[in-house]
Symmetry: C2
Subunit: 225 residues, 2 copies
C-alpha cells in the first residue's frame, strides 16, 4: 500500500486555482487547500474557496488571515482606489505588493507542518504580462528560497513549486478544468463580486474569464449582477 503524497494548494476560490486543485488531484496528491483572507474587496472568494475545497475532496482547508488592508497600495485592498474597468499599461493597480511571495510563504509554512514537499499555485501566462510575481523567474526564485528556508528543504527532499497553468491560455484552463470535473459555478474571479459571489462582468478579471469560456466554446456559468 502506498501513502498518497501530500500537496499544499493555494486556493483563491477563483477559476485558475480551482483548476490547479483539480490537476493536483488528478496527479494523485492528497490535497491541503490554503486560502488567504487579506482584506481583499472580494471576500466572496473565501466562501467560494470552501465550496471548491469540499467539491474537490481536500483533506483539509486552512484559511489564513492577514490584514493587508492596513498596508494598502492596491485597488484590491484599499477601497479608496477604484478597480479599473478598462485595461491599463504596465503593472495594474490591482497588483497587491508582494502578494504571491506572501501566499507562497504561508503555503510553505503549512507544507512544513503537514510534511508536504509539493506546493501548487495557479499563476499563468495571462496574468504574468502584468504582475511581476506571476512570472516563471519569480516561481524559480521562490523554489530556490524554499529549499534553503525550511527544515524540509534541508533535511528532506527538495520542495517543488508546481505551476501547471503557467503556459496556458484562459480557454485551455477552462477546457482542462471542465474535463477534470471542476464546477466553475462555485468559483468567483471578479475583483468586485457582491456578497453572493455575483460578478460585475466589467473588471479585467471578469473580462479574461468571460473570454476564456467563449473561446473554449463552453457555457459560462458565472452569475453576473
Amino acid at each position: 500500500m502506498t501513502v498518497a503524497r501530500r500537496a499544499v494548494v493555494l486556493l483563491s476560490g477563483g477559476l485558475d486555482s480551482a483548476t490547479v486543485m483539480a490537476i493536483a488531484r488528478s496527479e494523485g496528491y492528497e490535497l491541503y487547500a490554503i486560502s488567504v483572507a487579506y482584506g481583499q474587496r472580494h471576500m466572496a472568494e473565501i466562501k467560494a474557496s470552501a465550496d471548491v475545497a469540499r467539491s474537490l475532496g481536500a483533506r483539509r482547508h486552512q484559511v489564513m488571515h492577514v490584514n493587508l488592508n492596513d498596508v494598502g497600495g492596491s485597488a484590491l485592498t484599499d477601497t479608496s482606489i477604484d478597480v479599473p474597468e478598462t485595461p491599463s499599461e504596465g503593472i495594474p493597480v490591482t497588483y497587491v505588493p508582494a502578494r504571491n511571495t506572501l501566499f507562497l510563504s504561508l503555503a510553505l509554512g503549512w507544507a512544513e507542518v503537514v510534511g508536504a514537499t509539493d506546493i501548487f499555485i495557479g499563476v499563468n501566462a495571462v496574468d504574468y504580462s502584468g504582475y511581476p510575481d506571476c512570472r516563471p523567474e519569480f516561481v524559480a526564485a521562490f523554489e530556490r528560497l524554499a529549499n534553503v528556508a525550511t527544515r524540509v528543504g534541508i533535511e528532506g527532499g527538495g520542495i517543488q513549486i508546481h505551476t501547471p497553468l503557467i503556459d496556458l491560455s484562459k480557454a485551455d484552463i477552462v477546457r482542462i478544468g471542465t474535463q477534470l470535473g471542476v464546477d466553475y459555478a462555485q468559483t468567483v474571479s471578479c475583483y468586485q463580486a457582491d456578497d453572493q459571489g455575483r460578478a460585475c462582468g466589467r473588471c479585467d478579471s471578469c473580462r479574461l474569464r468571460r473570454a476564456g469560456f467563449e473561446s473554449a466554446g463552453i457555457t459560462d456559468p458565472t452569475r453576473y449582477y
Copy 2:
C-alpha cells in the same frame, strides 16, 4: 536638501531587532518599523515593539496580524508543545515553519507601498546555528527573490536585505546597541514572557540574552518573574 532614504525594519520587540533599528537609524534611514502578531505565546513582544519604535523615532509602526497558531507546528504557536528549558540538538521546537520567509514577505510588501528598497532584519550567528531561515544563504536567496517579485525590484533600484547582526555575538550586539542608545529594558526576548513583559530566565532565548549582557560587562536590565 536631501530626502532621507526609507528603510523597513522588522521589529519583534526583542533585543536583536531593537539593535538593528538603532543601526538603521545611525545610518540615516527614515524608519518604517513592522511587527508581526502571529499568535506567538509572547504577545508582550508586540507591546515592547511599540515602545522601541517610539523611542527610536520610527516614522511609522505597522503591526501585521497572521493566525499562524491555526497552523501550529512550533512551541511558539502551539500551546500543546512545551518551550524547552535545556538546549537541544538540531532544529529546535521553537522554530516556526517559514517564519522569516513570511516576515520578509510582509516587509517587502510594505516596502513597495512606502517606496523603500532597504529592509533590515535581525538574524544573527547565534540563531542560525539552529534555524534554517537565519542563515546567510537564506537571506541571499530572499534578496534574489525580492528583486524579481516586486514592482520596486524591477522598475526601481535593487532591493537590499540588510542583516547587520549576522556575524555578531550576543555580547557584541549588546555593546553596539548600548552605544547607539537602545533602552534594552523596553525589549522582551523571552519565549514565555508574562503579560507585563517579564522574562522566565530559563528558555533558550533568555539564556542567550543573559549571557550576552554578562559577557559584554553591561548590567542586564531584564525584568524576570
